[in-house]
Symmetry: C2
Subunit: 340 residues, 2 copies
């Protein structure tokens, strides 16, 4: 208490939280105030051009650039939250393995705490995204939020009574590996007939590329040909808009499957809000949502049918940074907060 007196300032000292999204290709640092308003940000390629690995120092630099953009002093940082890929040791704050970055056992939490002299937390990037939607997006105030993010795979997360639901070692909620069918395509080396094998964006791209090959998707053919690596969510949305009915059927079917997965999971988790995020759902929110709702209805128990709403994510690219910042704040509440 006496220390407070020692710093006579006219204004309340500024408090900020930093959210970081460590992606395989891009990284994003955002500085937030206590209402999670964005004060400044910096987006950069994860890899320095011409270099092989990624040096953790690049994260530190990027955070400093965002602070600079926000015109905020480092001393104002109350906490840094970092959404990370790969298996993590959440307690110790270590990234156990991130092949995309060339990392093994990087103690990111300690590194950031030492550098910025404030608490830091790492969490799974999808978990952070769901927590962001819970804290400030489509899942506000929900008791139980289930997030499903179809992308190359299908990630997921759950916020239960204000906390990220987590596994012993790292993350959990691998909704992409829910088994949906006894037969069907395998998701890479994983089990057969999983949700992600049936309905990820990669699964859709594979089907769409086959449709192009068969001459059934003339609009998509013009833009990407049969190279599925060129098929993006926006490309699919445009081809559908331009009249590629087969592509529409492929996307609708995948969305319906995701809905079925959601229905199946709703029987387990009884969420209040289910959030679908990721580029695909955000590029065609209406189409995606209507099919997902249909699929969910098919698989959920009648008694749970009216217990939850499916929504499209609201925060887009900012869900992970916002959630990571909100999570470090949740885990390290300011002891002065309650005293006003």
């Amino acid at each position: 208490m006496s220390e407070k007196e020692e710093k006579p300032t006219s204004d309340q000292p500024q408090k900020v939280w930093v959210g970081f999204d460590l992606g395989g290709t891009k990284m994003l640092a955002v500085v937030f105030d206590e209402k999670l308003t964005i004060l400044g940000k910096k987006r950069r390629r994860t890899r320095e051009k011409g270099k092989d690995g990624v040096h953790p120092e690049r994260i530190v630099e990027t955070i400093r650039m965002a602070l600079n953009d926000a015109e905020v002093d480092e001393a104002a940082i109350q906490g840094i939250g970092c959404g990370c890929p790969g298996p993590l040791d959440l307690k110790k704050g270590i990234i156990l393995e991130a092949p995309n970055l060339g990392w093994k056992n990087v103690p990111l939490k300690t590194l950031l705490e030492k550098e910025f002299k404030c608490p830091a937390e790492i969490c799974n990037d999808v978990d952070a995204g769901v927590f962001g939607e819970y804290a400030n997006g489509a899942g506000r105030n929900a008791r139980c939020v289930l997030g499903v993010f179809p992308g190359t795979g299908i990630g997921g997360g759950c916020v239960y009574e204000g906390k990220i639901f987590r596994g012993s070692r790292a993350s959990c909620m691998e909704v992409g590996f829910l088994q949906m069918a006894t037969e069907g395509p395998a998701a890479g080396a994983g089990p057969v007939g999983t949700l992600e094998a049936l309905a990820s964006r990669l699964a859709i791209s594979g089907e769409a590329a086959k449709a192009v090959y068969r001459g059934l998707a003339p609009n998509l053919a013009k833009v990407v040909g049969t190279d599925l690596s060129k098929i993006r969510s926006g490309t699919l949305a445009k081809a559908i808009e331009d009249g590629d009915e087969v592509v529409e059927r492929i996307v609708r079917r995948a969305a319906e499957q995701v809905g079925r997965g959601i229905g199946s999971l709703a029987n387990i988790l009884a969420p209040d809000i289910v959030i679908i995020g990721g580029g695909l759902a955000e590029a065609m929110p209406k189409l995606y949502l209507s099919e997902a709702e249909k699929g969910a209805k098919r698989n959920v128990l009648p008694s749970l049918r009216d217990c939850f709403k499916i929504k499209i994510a609201e925060l887009g690219d900012y869900s992970t940074v916002m959630g990571a910042a909100a999570w470090v704040r949740e885990e390290h509440p300011d002891p002065g907060d309650e005293k006003g």
Copy 2:
């Protein structure tokens, strides 16, 4: 504090907790001490002979009989926990609907609290069973316990960081309604291809009765014929022991399916311990466990494969009463406890 002084007794006053299991055909009241040792019990038919409905007063009577058996005074009760069927309002402690009992909107919590002048809680019977195994059985000290109970249907529950994972309205963890296949039998009026449609004891009985009809299960045929309502877990175990290979195949296949469901769910919940309970698994623990382990391995992600153990439940018929008693104690800790 001063009230303590007013009761000068040579011994610490006895403290007991009551667990109650309200089944469709039987009810069981058990009196426990603080170490969850059984002090006394009373098991009765739920329905009074010749009567249609069930009067809640019968629960009160049964608890008094158990107290009598334990030779414990009513004043010693610190809490009553009651595992109940059907949809519940957990907060208000109301059984919303229990068709087996002819009940609608029965405020059991209030009723017990008034009658015995102590806290009471109701919870889903399977949830209570899993909490029992967590508190005093196969799931002791686990951070996350997933319980799967194959019976007529397949019930489930989850204890996460010491608390029962619950839905907004009532229970959740309806693992029987996890979708496993796009096609397949329907579970009653429910969705098609669910775990319970494929692998419940009822599903097994259906297959076994068909095997009898086809002349493929001579030992089972002797005991039950083609009437599937007569097929019990013990009957199946005996027929397998006596050499009915087709029956063995049917049970193994169902156990493997349950394992696949467990593997699929382990990707979501990342439990430390998975407990399989119910008559079927307990009648053939070795056979059941080996198949379940095989199935789980098939569906779980390699990175999660070694994170959990599958075990057979340890508490049998007592899991629900023990869990209900432990749960009411968890929810209403004795304020004097910490002071020694």
